[in-house]
């Protein structure tokens, strides 16, 4: 298949390179087909190795002693008895690792072990390694830590009201970590134009990733002075950087991080973690391999999951429902550390405009430090909470105005190939098609509002909601001008193609993405390609498996490397056959003349004759996303090469007496640009429906406020798989899935994100469906049976945070950054922003 003229290709990685979004389906041999994943056989045979499956001779087992206090100064740590226990080989405390780290350069606020302060129950204080796991546990119990308790901060209101004691000595002020205040367009004018205004408050409780695999790490500092860390991480490159920082002066190039297959991540393995750094340090201390496998309870303490977010939203619309102004406030309960929180805060205000054209928009976001496990990125990162608010509010507006909730959305759709009020660049946009699909499939028009009774007396309702998500963040986590993804190909004279890439397979199939794309370009079987990934010694940097970036970024880098390989092979073959290179076709493991298909050779022969001509064959490809249009401070969060779109209709059956409900059927349409693999894309969509349903109905990372000797201690209410309710096989509804393909010019073969977007509409669609069934509004997630019951009992038929003065914390957001919208002639900068110092791009 010759897709374009290679001589026209720029030699550099360019974000505007042609990624063949317009390739015709029928011309594609592998893309879009339900081919097995490259590792499918090992996975169904129990042969895939996860971090805790590794062991080495002389390996020690490490355990962490974690804080039992929510907020306290460490007065003293006595480890003498522990160190003397038979079998104990190493003990570490905070003073052994004084350098702070953190995923974002702006919040390097964590330590591998606490220094002088513990900030939540579960904060690690001491690490102990022993020859047997049980000895390490026993030794932990022998450590004596003396604490001096401090006042605890339990939530956003408390954090706003109590600037002291501060959890951290950085941030905006008091216990406010971040404040954002961005104004796009003219809000007052927008509300003036509005013919109907609604103001509501919403609350989205935190919840957690709950990967089936508990985090585990094996570290080995060998006798040559090189450190290798095998870990269940989604971001080996960032872990590599954190290790180099904390373990200095050990040079970064003496550190090797291997991200071993993750047993599920969902964002929960994207931060560099204490246990990873401690294992490395412990191996350096003892000279032996060291392994730590977290218990399920510890996974709850690591968390970095969904932030609890309180929101106030005011929307102005015309009487036909067109949005003229949106004034949105979010208050995030960040937990004890920064983590990705700065980005999470911006994300609560970023993507509303990507689904619906919002003419004037004011976003204010505040993130607070509290004495709970740190929050961070979970599937959808910061966007499910505001999405819930917006989609429920649109439903209410439709109801106020007597409009069809599907119609009001269709009328507000953001146009394709446009810039939003906050300067996000939309490319392909299939949301309209998505809405039409689920509306038709669910027979929305006939069945909505009918309050049909089921045989057991429940009332049926349908709810609709939409969403959008990024295909990877437009900017890296730390400032640099380097590619976001790199791929190297090695072509062997046996005909083997080996792809090296830093991307990390967390179950979503990123290893296979490499195979499918390279196989398509070179005309060879994807399952015959050898994929070597996520090893910082062997593979070029890829930033990791987060923000749904792999398909587009790794995919484009793979495509570039493969096309360069094809160009070289074409040169070799052209000469041998005496045929112009641009007439050669690569397909079915062969390279042949398009005009005379009998004239050709096998792929392997092509490699051999090219190697004979040019020497060893290897190529590279890399990808950097397009420059963003948003140039104001904070504009770095939200831009993406492309956006996926989803629409869902959820059917519920509610018992009007008790509030107990079930979800029998979900219709989900997802615009993913193009499915690189049909079956795998379906799996991502169904998995999102499942996880969204869990968040909608039951999942919550809730804390108990316990007193301990007169001090409050926040203890996770339910740190176990049984008590943290998540849907089992029994709760999973029937799902009718529509894969909508609106190819985007920035994606490989037009592909966009799959796997995060369809989670988002589930929560509002469930809440909207409950309203359709029994006429009550639950403005809070999870929308548990108890809350539906409470709403049924309430006078105003509503459950949720109050709209009154006590509804949201009192925070002075300061002056807003004022940005003219594109339709006001804005250029993406804030006209009142003080001049920023230009950071040097390294």
């Amino acid at each position: 298949m010759v897709l374009d003229d290679p001589s026209a290709r720029s030699p550099q990685a360019k974000s505007d390179a042609p990624w063949h979004h317009d390739a015709k389906k029928e011309d594609l041999k592998h893309i879009g087909k339900p081919i097995r994943k490259v590792d499918a056989r090992s996975k169904v045979s129990g042969l895939t190795k996860f971090a805790d499956d590794l062991s080495m001779p002389r390996m020690l087992h490490m355990k962490l002693l974690r804080s039992t206090r929510a907020h306290a100064e460490i007065v003293s740590i006595d480890t003498a008895k522990a160190a003397a226990l038979p079998g104990v080989k190493g003990v570490l405390t905070g003073k052994d690792m004084p350098i702070p780290f953190g995923i974002l350069p702006v919040s390097q606020d964590e330590h591998a072990l606490c220094q002088d302060l513990v900030r939540f129950v579960g904060d690690p204080v001491v690490a102990i390694a022993a020859t047997e796991e049980e000895a390490a546990w026993d030794a932990c119990r022998l450590v004596d830590v003396q604490y001096r308790e401090r006042r605890t901060i339990g939530g956003v209101h408390e954090a706003a009201d109590h600037p002291e004691p501060r959890l951290h000595d950085y941030g905006v002020r008091g216990n406010i970590h971040r404040l954002e205040n961005l104004e796009f367009g003219d809000l007052a004018a927008g509300f003036q134009k509005a013919e109907h205004v609604r103001e509501d408050t919403f609350f989205f409780e935190g919840n957690t990733h709950l990967p089936m695999e508990q985090h585990a790490t094996l570290a080995h500092f060998d006798k040559d002075g090189k450190l290798t860390v095998w870990s269940s991480t989604q971001t080996p490159h960032y872990l590599h950087r954190a290790l180099a920082r904390v373990l200095a002066p050990l040079p970064a190039h003496h550190i090797r991080v291997v991200a071993i297959q993750n047993g599920g991540g969902f964002g929960g393995k994207s931060d560099p973690f204490n246990h990873e750094i401690c294992a490395a340090k412990m191996s350096m201390l003892t000279g032996r391999p060291v392994k730590i496998a977290l218990t399920r309870e510890e996974v709850f303490w690591c968390h970095r999951g969904r932030h609890p977010v309180l929101m106030r939203s005011k929307v102005g619309v015309t009487k036909t429902g067109r949005i003229t102004a949106l004034d949105f406030h979010s208050y995030l309960d960040g937990g004890a550390y920064g983590s990705y929180g700065t980005a999470s805060t911006f994300y609560t205000g970023a993507l509303q405009t990507v689904t619906y054209a919002v003419e004037n928009y004011h976003f204010r976001g505040a993130r607070f430090f509290t004495n709970k496990a740190p929050c961070g990125p979970k599937r959808g990162h910061g966007t499910p909470q505001p999405r819930f608010a917006l989609e429920v509010q649109l439903d209410k507006i439709a109801c106020d105005l007597g409009l069809d909730p599907a119609r009001i959305r269709l009328d507000n759709l953001a146009p394709r190939d446009s810039l939003t009020a906050n300067f996000l660049r939309i490319g392909s946009m299939g949301l309209g098609t998505c809405i039409e699909k689920v509306v038709a499939g669910s027979r929305w028009k006939e069945r909505r509002g009918k309050k049909e009774r089921t045989a057991d007396g429940r009332i049926r309702g349908l709810g609709l909601a939409c969403s959008s998500y990024l295909s990877g963040a437009g900017l890296p986590i730390y400032w640099n001008g380097l590619p976001h993804s790199g791929v190297q190909l090695k072509l062997d004279r046996s005909g083997l193609v080996t792809a090296f890439c830093g991307s990390t397979d967390i179950g979503q199939g990123s290893d296979s993405v490499l195979g499918w794309i390279i196989g398509e370009v070179l005309g060879i079987d994807p399952l015959g390609i050898k994929v070597v990934t996520s090893d910082t010694d062997l593979t070029p940097v890829d930033l990791g498996s987060y923000s749904s970036r792999v398909t587009v970024m790794t995919g484009n880098a793979a495509m570039q490397a493969a096309e360069r390989a094809r160009d070289i092979l074409a040169k070799g073959v052209a000469e041998k056959l005496g045929v112009p290179a641009n007439r050669l076709v690569f397909a079915d493991e062969k390279v042949f003349d398009a005009e005379d298909p009998k004239k050709g050779m096998t792929f392997q022969e092509a490699v051999v004759c090219t190697e004979a001509k040019f020497g060893t064959i290897g190529t590279v490809g890399s990808y950097t996303p397009p420059a963003t249009a948003a140039k104001f401070r904070g504009g770095g969060v939200g831009p993406s090469p492309s956006y996926s779109y989803s629409a869902a209709v959820v059917e519920v059956e509610v018992d009007p007496e008790t509030g107990v409900y079930r979800v029998p059927h979900v219709w989900m349409a997802h615009d993913i640009g193009r499915a690189l693999n049909a079956a795998v894309a379906m799996g991502q969509i169904e998995g999102s429906v499942y996880m969204g349903l869990g968040e909608a109905m039951m999942e919550e990372m809730a804390y108990r406020d316990r007193s301990h000797k007169g001090h409050r201690v926040f203890v996770h209410k339910i740190p176990s798989l049984l008590e943290y309710k998540s849907p089992s096989a029994l709760e999973m509804p029937t799902v009718t899935t529509y894969v909508v393909e609106d190819p985007d010019k920035n994606g490989p073969f037009g592909a966009k994100e799959v796997g995060q977007g369809p989670l988002l509409p589930m929560m509002p669609a469930v809440a909207n469906a409950i309203f359709d069934a029994v006429g009550v509004r639950v403005d809070e997630i999870p929308c548990s049976f108890e809350k539906v019951f409470a709403a049924l009992q309430a006078k105003d038929k509503r459950y949720g945070p109050s709209l009154g003065a006590d509804g949201v914390p009192t925070v002075d957001f300061g002056d807003s950054l004022k940005i003219k919208t594109p339709w006001q002639g804005g250029d993406g900068t804030a006209w009142n922003e003080p001049k920023r110092e230009k950071k040097a791009a390294k």
Partner: protein, 173 residues
């Protein structure tokens, strides 16, 4: 804890005898993974809550994290490593691979052992029977649907039918 006297016993696992010395309080999960290096069996909680550690003992699926290893002595233990015949996968494994019923693959060994036990006593399980049989196996990736479909497809193929996955389950509606 650490100076407990070990016991010596022979286990029959996947049809092969394994003689191991282990502390008598060790669970079957620990002995399989740590003493026999059969790491295909996973753990998600070690508290009997997730099903990742499911193995078969005398054909019945059990949670190996809740079973003492000593209780399995003299019984027929089967783990995920024992499913394939040589290098040939079972129909169930093939169907899991084809439909993408294993995403991260961490719950998969446990799910496979539970589903295999179901299929050995029920040649034509209904969707509800499959759900019941797998209700104790949590999966965070797949949303279970591809797992259900893979079990149904494998059942059909094991009955000798030339079944294919439905178009909707692969390409959507």
């Amino acid at each position: 804890m650490t100076d407990v006297k070990k016991v010596l016993a022979t286990f029959l696992v996947n049809g092969e005898p394994h003689e191991v010395a282990f502390a008598p309080h060790k669970t079957l999960l620990e002995v399989l993974r740590e003493e026999m290096n059969l790491t295909g069996t996973k753990h998600g909680c070690e508290l009997g809550e997730c099903g990742a550690c499911t193995v078969q003992v005398d054909g019945t699926p059990i949670l190996s994290c809740l079973s003492l290893a000593v209780d399995a002595v003299g019984k027929d233990v089967r783990t995920v490593e024992g499913l394939a015949k040589g290098s040939e996968l079972t129909p169930l494994q093939h169907c899991f691979a084809d439909l993408g019923a294993a995403q991260c693959g961490y719950c998969t060994p446990g799910v496979l052992m539970a589903a295999d036990a179901l299929l050995s006593c029920n040649k034509s399980p209904t969707r509800d029977e499959i759900k019941q049989a797998l209700a104790g196996n949590l999966c965070r990736c797949t949303g279970y649907l591809k797992i259900f479909e893979a079990v149904e497809l494998a059942a059909a193929r094991m009955r000798g039918e030339k079944a294919q996955p439905s178009k909707e389950s692969i390409h959507g509606s």
